[in-house]
Point group: C2
Chain length 210, copies 2
């Protein structure tokens, strides 16, 4: 007898498992959660989860991968080629904050757990960060090339800008998660205003040029 | 018979052990290093290290504490009350980068190991970050108060600025450690130039106001 479940393509089955795993890890935490809990939440037998994803560790790694893909995809979709990179950075920041605000529990647990759990998971998170940094660098490089092909910002400086953006975003996400009364949009507005205060103070000479 | 070593005050003895431990952990890594190695490097007997600092874990925690104190102290000394907070931020960034550049190996190993090793050590690092964030927030709050007592930047926004600064600094330190051909000063110069390019582009209308 072949049940409906058994006919699902591997990809769909895996997605179901990872969906369930994200929920279970978020609710219970990595240490407390068991492969059995994930199997139960996914409506799949425990041996099947082992056949597909091997171990709790590999399951958790798959969760990090999948969630990282989702973030990278969301950020990439927010940026439009040809627009000034500053606008791209604001859009990317806004989309990133919204993504986390909309997935608050899951993000907090997955990301914070991943960082704290072990060196192996930290590496997965670091790899995801690298992908985002590369995306932002490419965007800044593309957006600051003059029509003649010259660059306003060198490739190295574009990389630095990307590092600043990701570091700031990372740090602000922690703040956003500590302040549920704030929204992604209110946070971006605060950041934009701070930038404008800085520009204003520079223009009026309140800050001496460095 | 009382040797010269035994007459040292506890504080001095502890400092010697922590100095030695920082060197040993940096060279060998947390897992490989043993309390014996630290004792040998400090010229102190192994039982004595246990009496003073308990265990390898407590020894490593003491190293994190001490190195964090040194960073906080260096950053604090770079900031002068009453100066515009932007200048304070640049000085703090420069001093922080210099500190890490001058202690490249020790920082890379201690900080990166501390983050990757265990949740307990991550918490120590997080606590040190919080102290730096509080310092910067206080500096921004103090530096953006108008003579009448009004504020240019709310306390909440000052906190956000501090989060941006620490996140960016954290992220840039990783970059600096990956680029030994750069110096702390060249990195700060790049960051300042990027800020100026942004201001210039805003002023000339290359970036539409948000």
């Amino acid at each position: 007898m072949v049940s409906k479940n058994q006919r699902l393509p591997r990809e769909v089955r895996e997605r179901q498992m990872i969906d369930a795993a994200v929920r279970v890890f978020s609710r219970s935490g990595y240490h407390t959660a068991s492969v059995e809990d994930v199997a139960e939440a996914a409506g799949i037998s425990k041996p099947m989860v082992y056949i597909y994803l091997g171990s709790k560790e590999r399951l958790f790694t798959a969760c990090i991968h999948r969630e990282a893909d989702r973030v990278v995809e969301a950020v990439r979709a927010a940026v439009h080629p040809g627009e000034p990179p500053e606008l791209g950075l604001w859009s990317a920041l806004r989309v990133f904050f919204r993504f986390v605000a909309d997935n608050r529990d899951s993000w907090a647990v997955l990301y914070q757990q991943a960082r704290a759990q072990s060196a192996a998971f930290s590496k997965e998170v670091a790899a995801a960060r690298c992908r985002v940094i590369d995306e932002i660098t490419a965007m800044v490089v593309a957006g600051t090339r003059l029509p003649g092909g010259e660059r306003i910002v060198s490739e190295r400086d574009a990389e630095i800008l990307a590092r600043i953006a990701i570091g700031a975003a990372d740090s602000l996400i922690d703040w956003l998660l500590e302040h549920p009364e704030e929204s992604a949009d209110s946070l971006v507005e605060r950041v934009v205003n701070l930038a404008l205060v800085g520009v204003e103070r520079y223009n009026t000479g309140d800050i001496p040029p460095p």
